[in-house]
């Protein structure tokens, strides 16, 4: 009897997703695919007012819709299909975070390497800016940025870039300074290599790997931050909800028992950030020379 139970447990345990390091990656791929294929998969385009029926607002999960499909995850207070909202929101969340992280990483990389390599006033100016930005909580900086810039998707990306670039710059500078002091760079200098060649062929390629580990973390941050800003009503336009604003839309219904409006988008958001973080963790461990026993 007990043995039987244990065996069943073991069987299930084997299927527990995070026993294997590959599963977060699968999750992440699935997320990306879902986001890319959202228009094909979603029964409803939640951004197209002609496809939404406000009379079917706040339907519980499983309610059939007037459009001939089923609201498997229910609808929100305006009749948007939660499942479709999640798929489309995923697109926005991913797009905003990936674009902003890419821009921030590029700016941070350029700024950090320049600061490290040129030193003197370039270093001072860049690092003062970085210090300034990092000496404030990111949330506050994002808040001020978005308030000043005004909400729209491109402004959010800009705000996220403003928030993120400094972290990259500081890390790149640290790494690049370390690299710059290494003998192989000295050897390159002894060959009188042009500065740009030392920078781009020697210092930069070796500064990138540690920075790569930062990217997933920052994408995760960006998703969370965008969601938070949207939650506070400072993010994406109301009729084009991201995952964060989808959760926010459900907040007011939470107390009345219409849990599905915020629960499902929240789960999707959580799963997305978690799988990015797990993949990032894995990446970092792989690139870390002092590998921890695992």
């Amino acid at each position: 009897m007990i043995a039987q139970t244990l065996r069943t447990w073991w069987k299930w345990w084997k299927w527990w997703p995070f026993r294997h390091n590959e599963l977060p990656k699968l999750f992440l791929c699935a997320y990306v695919l879902l986001a890319l294929a959202a228009p094909l998969l979603a029964p409803q385009n939640p951004y197209d007012p002609t496809q939404i029926f406000a009379w079917e607002a706040s339907s519980a999960p499983g309610t059939p819709s007037g459009g001939g499909y089923v609201y498997w995850l229910g609808t929100d207070g305006l009749g948007r299909d939660i499942a479709s909202t999640i798929l489309y929101g995923l697109r926005i969340s991913l797009m905003v975070s990936v674009i902003s992280s890419a821009i921030a990483a590029a700016i941070g990389l350029a700024a950090g390497v320049s600061a490290a390599f040129f030193g003197r006033w370039v270093d001072i100016v860049i690092m003062r800016l970085v210090d300034l930005q990092l000496s404030l909580p990111t949330m506050l900086v994002a808040l001020i940025a978005i308030v000043t810039l005004g909400p729209s998707i491109d402004r959010i990306i800009l705000a996220l870039v403003i928030v993120q670039w400094a972290a990259y710059a500081r890390m790149v500078r640290g790494v690049a300074l370390g690299e710059r002091g290494k003998p192989y760079v000295d050897a390159a200098r002894l060959l009188r290599l042009p500065t740009h060649r030392i920078l781009f062929r020697h210092v930069l390629p070796n500064s990138v790997p540690p920075v790569v580990t930062l990217i997933p973390i920052e994408i995760g941050h960006a998703i969370a931050l965008e969601a938070t800003l949207s939650f506070l009503g400072l993010g994406v336009p109301v009729d084009k909800p991201s995952l964060g604003s989808a959760v926010a839309n459900g907040f007011q219904y939470l107390l009345t028992g219409q849990y599905w409006i915020s629960l499902f988008p929240g789960l999707a958001l959580f799963g997305l950030i978690a799988s990015i973080n797990f993949v990032g963790e894995d990446l970092r461990r792989r690139l870390d020379p002092r590998r921890e026993p695992q």
Partner: protein
């Protein structure tokens, strides 16, 4: 069951915090104490500082007005027993006898003169918003201790109504009190009202005690404790746990839960409306394009377009789904039945075919794109309504892009002319006021059209309105106002959406509560449960 789990929780928390002293338990409710959770944050103790329900609602416990508005918005005697129009420009107010301020000093005509003078000439901006009520006054005189004579610059038939907004303060021995003086609590606020000031924390709490000498008889509650809870969830929670006896401005979606937990919920349509307003003036109009994104001439100059959008708006959806039944579909400015409203104006279900036909007639059968702006969280259902309306209009080919912003941002942009079409609201002491500010042509001299951001001009309506306003308070005036409303709304300058309901809830210490359409929350509206 309930009790034991409650105890367990308390024990758990006591353990967690390491504090197990019973001394910290909140004291039991004093007999006849009314605890109210209100959304109105009281920011000043100066009753004449700002014309916001925030202040007037709570301060009306302490201060009183010459004239009251009852729940049908009709003027009824307050500190003035009666009033009489002596001539076109002269009003006489007879004051109530044997009224005393909280400091035992008698209430006389001098106090009325002082209060009106303070509003008219002493208070400097930004505390000037009450001046709109006194703008018609030329002079105020006390002819005897219980008679006040008011001279107006021109005919002012609605003066008693205007005075229903002004609180009477005792006149000090010298000079006028400043707002700072009153706020500093060095001079406790003194009025004639049923409750006396006890203590105050700005924006958080107001405590009152019974005025046993009140002229209207002993007030029902010995003590009143207003707790400011801006978050609706907090008010709901406080009401459910019995932390307060009464809460105002409850969200409609919480009503079911509240009822389940033994809370009595009462509601009434607010004396107001929310509507969409068109910019009918500018050409070209920012935020309006054809489907390809190219600018088009201002479509709202065409009455058929305005009518089409009005006809295509699903008002029952707004009142039933967005406001969950706690709203009344609107076809005019105040809920039907209040003075100055027309029984002929009734909201109808949307007729998309008719709307399409109207658009086609106007040469816009392809529809167009338009920005639909509004505030977020200022009024119940504001942002959600815009999205629902966008859904409605999408069916006739009009693609509305809802844009919501915090109210001040929205208001700044609206006054800067950034929007073609927006969500607005109107409230006040009478329909007349709304007609004046929203629909009358902007006129600096007559001070009309303050909220007519769309610069709608209808001279015929202006005439009708002026004539109606010249009539003294009464059925005749109300009928004329209703007729003017019918006339102007047939031109669709605005799309009335709904009159949202004011929802209040109360627990077992209260036996009845009457919701006032002006949205006031007072202890006087609550009846205690008899012993």
């Amino acid at each position: 069951m309930q009790k034991s789990s409650h105890l367990k929780t308390i024990r758990l928390i006591a353990l967690l915090g390491g504090i197990a002293s019973a001394a910290f338990f909140t004291s039991p409710v004093a007999a006849q104490e009314l605890r109210v959770a209100t959304s109105y944050k009281l920011m000043t103790l100066d009753p004449q500082f700002a014309d916001l329900n925030e202040n007037t609602s709570l301060l009306s416990h302490i201060y009183e007005r010459l004239v009251y508005q009852d729940e049908r918005l009709n003027p009824v005697p307050g500190l003035a027993l009666s009033w009489k129009r002596l001539s076109d420009t002269q009003w006489q107010f007879k004051l109530r006898e044997n009224v005393r301020f909280h400091d035992r000093s008698p209430f006389t005509a001098d106090d009325v003169v002082y209060s009106l003078e303070r509003v008219r000439s002493v208070l400097k901006p930004p505390s000037g918003s009450f001046q709109s009520y006194t703008q018609s006054i030329k002079a105020v005189r006390a002819t005897d201790p219980l008679t006040v004579l008011i001279e107006t610059t021109a005919s002012a038939p609605a003066l008693p109504l205007a005075l229903s907004s002004i609180f009477i303060m005792p006149h000090p021995s010298s000079g006028f009190r400043s707002t700072e003086e009153l706020n500093s609590a060095a001079v406790p606020p003194i009025g004639t009202g049923p409750y006396k000031f006890a203590s105050w924390q700005s924006g958080e709490r107001l405590k009152l005690t019974r005025n046993d000498d009140y002229w209207g008889g002993k007030p029902a509650w010995s003590e009143v404790d207003f707790r400011v809870m801006e978050s609706p969830a907090a008010r709901v929670a406080a009401l459910t746990t019995g932390e307060v006896d009464l809460a105002d401005s409850l969200p409609a979606r919480d009503v079911a839960t509240l009822k389940q937990r033994g809370v009595t919920v009462v509601s009434a349509s607010a004396a107001r409306s929310n509507f969409l307003q068109f910019d009918v003036d500018r050409d070209p109009l920012p935020g309006v394009t054809d489907k390809a994104g190219k600018p088009i001439p201002n479509p709202f100059k065409d009455k058929r377009v305005r009518e089409a959008l009005s006809v295509a708006t699903d008002r029952p959806l707004l009142s039933d789904k967005i406001l969950l039944g706690y709203g009344t579909a609107a076809a005019q400015l105040f809920p039907n039945g209040l003075p100055g409203t027309s029984a002929k104006l009734v909201a109808t279900p949307p007729d998309y075919e008719k709307a399409k036909a109207l658009l086609a007639e106007a040469g816009l059968s392809d529809g167009f794109n338009v920005v639909l702006a509004g505030p977020a969280g200022r009024y119940p259902g504001d942002a959600e309504s815009l999205q629902a309306i966008a859904q409605n209009w999408a069916r006739i080919g009009v693609r509305a892009q809802p844009v919501v912003a915090p109210f001040s941002v929205f208001a700044t942009k609206r006054s800067a002319g950034e929007y073609p079409l927006w969500y607005g609201g109107c409230s006040g002491d009478s329909v007349s006021l709304c007609l004046d500010t929203v629909l009358a042509s902007p006129n600096a001299e007559r001070k009309t059209g303050a909220n007519n951001y769309g610069r709608y001009r209808n001279p015929a309506f202006d005439d009708l309105l002026m004539k109606a306003q010249a009539i003294e308070e009464g059925p005749e005036r109300n009928a004329a106002l209703a007729a003017a409303t019918e006339f102007v709304l047939a031109d669709y300058p605005i799309v009335p959406l709904y009159h949202f309901h004011l929802i209040a809830g109360y627990g077992k210490h209260v036996s009845a509560y009457s919701v006032h359409p002006r949205g006031w929350t007072t202890a006087m509206q609550a009846v205690p449960t008899g012993e």
